[in-house]
Symmetry: C2
Subunit: 382 residues, 2 copies
């Protein structure tokens, strides 16, 4: 039923002007999306590294496939349920970047190991590693694993000091194929100053790199040292040992990442452009100097800075949340008002959790609707 | 496919201990839910008022039906898409509390007017009223409308001064059946002090009441003056003219509402108890004094105060968000740790947007799973 509904709706809106779409909705400019995918692939490839983009940003198999087609070596997800959805969407090479807890999720995990071409898990707990090994033995499976190393975030991962011993113990467990390490310094990704971000990231990631080198020197055959995010895409590539980058937000960009500096453009982060935007319409205009629009905290996640209004371009506007269902858009001219139905296009504040609030993307080219993509990883938190 | 998947899952988990469910997930204690529904119905009925509960909290037709069965005169939704979902779920008497913008949504609105037994819309703009009248005339429809009056929130609604003239103009428009007024003072609902909340709400709502009286005195046959929220459920009932209350959060309660005082219990808001909780599991425990759990801002909306941990009950814990996918639960004992897979149950900070992050509720009685309900109004922002 859902698929039939979707294709009926798709037929209705193909070719339509995007500013005529029902609101609130999420738009993707396909040319900007492709440009971002290519720009990151080329930048990383130019430094001799691979790309393993994180699907937690786009939550969409169609986009994951585009990243693979452009040369990515695999796709990351945060949760098991996201990986399940990717496999349903035809994606085969998946790294789940967060620990999958056993025995809680053992049935689902065993099914996924069997269905997925190359599934890589991370481990940060020896008892969990033993449970995974037992599961594999009992079901005649084997699975690729990475050691999750904590680069100072203290969220998941073992410390660099404990890591070598932990790795040796994993080597002894049946069914587990240790491929390398993961280190993600989430706490540095949004540091506004490029220089400070570089310094902090290098400091944290060097200890993980030393672990990787030590293990390789001991004779372990490791081929993956994965980490980094959009905020350090042109920093962590300087780590000699790093093999691939788990960048996510570059594909869409958001107000939060736009605000920080990169090596190339230190004032604003503009190598990547906003591919994802939100369309909202005025629902009430009985005040002077501001109107009420139909996108509030239920459709634009209230996190990570202030949304940026990019359409209309002719004046200065600012957005603020106005409850669950509404937003308040204020004008520079205090006497101004515009009627219900007037359209605004915004760069959302934090793209990942905002994408999670919708079921589909309306894909546009030159401001016309050319496609509709299912956000098939939406709501996958388990 | 989805329905079949759901009933297969339902068969698997019926009778299961709730602390064995996969995480993160939303739980409803059915006895507490029924108690909250009855307590509000009786409280309001005791003051000679009706109940028109807001579905924006629970986003679930099954619960809307329970509220109607208990005696509610109708169900409120904020958006057209929520009303569409309720009608699909078999609910007939619906008030959409926010303006539905024309011509943007005219096709969907005309279809809903035809499908829904009693649909009530609100109006705060004369041009929009004219477009609605034209739509009704062209399609041979008629629709119930309320005048939306702004009680100082300045979000939607016309001012009390302009309201009488606006009402007279609506009376002249074909196809529109003016039933009364709506006034929702959202800005006072979470004021912590009961006395201050009472004073502020009365101040704002009295001007709306005067409009209602004036219109009735002019001979208009109006039978609805609707407003109020959970924060003023025992305050706005003192307004003689008020006919029904649009309370929402009482059905679940959340940390935000727990923090405020009511007339009966001035220290904490405890006439209603938490019916909705979240289950989260430890995914990483390599630190002293805190662990990482699998519910972050993607599954527990970061808004409206701090989640409260209610299980386990044996010690002092506190929750904080730890990124999109993770939460950090800290112990009073700084040396304590507990292993991956350990379970926590929490009262979420702001129930409405958190419910919007899930597809289903797991319904429990005496801590055993007895049902699974589809959150069929999830993601309905348009």
């Amino acid at each position: 039923v859902r698929r039939a509904e979707m294709s009926a709706e798709k037929n209705q809106i193909l070719g339509k002007d995007k500013y005529g779409l029902d609101t609130p909705c999420l738009l993707i400019d396909i040319d900007v999306l492709h440009k971002n995918i290519r720009a990151m692939q080329e930048s990383v490839r130019g430094k001799g590294k691979n790309l393993r983009p994180h699907a937690k940003t786009h939550k969409c198999s169609v986009i994951a496939q585009k990243q693979l087609d452009a040369g990515a070596v695999g796709i990351c997800t945060a949760k098991l349920s996201e990986a399940e959805a990717l496999v349903k969407g035809g994606i085969e090479r998946i790294l789940i970047t967060g620990p999958v807890v056993l025995p809680l999720k053992e049935e689902r995990l065993a099914a996924l190991i069997q269905r997925c071409g190359e599934l890589i898990l991370v481990l940060d707990n020896l008892e969990q590693a033993r449970l995974l090994s037992t599961l594999c033995e009992e079901q005649g499976l084997s699975v690729h694993v990475l050691l999750d190393i904590d680069p100072g975030l203290r969220r998941t991962g073992v410390s660099a000091e404990e890591a070598p011993d932990f790795a040796r113990k994993i080597m002894d467990l049946a069914g587990l194929n240790l491929r390398g390490i993961q280190a993600y310094a989430g706490q540095v990704q949004h540091i506004a100053s490029y220089e400070e971000r570089r310094q902090r990231s290098m400091e944290y990631m060097h200890s993980a790199e030393e672990v990787f080198r030590k293990l390789v020197d001991e004779g372990m055959e490791l081929d993956i040292f994965t980490g980094a995010g959009t905020g350090t895409f042109d920093i962590d590539t300087d780590l000699e040992g790093l093999t691939d980058l788990q960048v996510g937000s570059y594909v869409f960009m958001d107000a939060e990442y736009r605000a920080i500096g990169s090596a190339l453009e230190k004032e604003a982060f503009t190598l990547f452009e906003p591919a994802l935007t939100m369309l909202a319409a005025v629902v009430s205009s009985n005040q002077s100097g501001f109107v009420t629009v139909d996108a509030g905290l239920k459709s634009m996640y209230r996190h990570g800075g202030t949304p940026i209004i990019i359409y209309p371009r002719d004046a200065l506007y600012s957005y603020d949340w106005f409850g669950d269902e509404y937003g308040k858009i204020s004008f520079a001219e205090k006497s101004k008002s515009i009627p219900p139905g007037s359209m605004f296009e915004l760069v959302v504040s934090h793209c990942d959790p905002t994408v999670n609030l919708f079921d589909r993307f309306y894909v546009t080219k030159d401001d016309r609707v050319v496609d509709m993509w299912n956000i098939d990883l939406r709501g996958k938190s388990s």
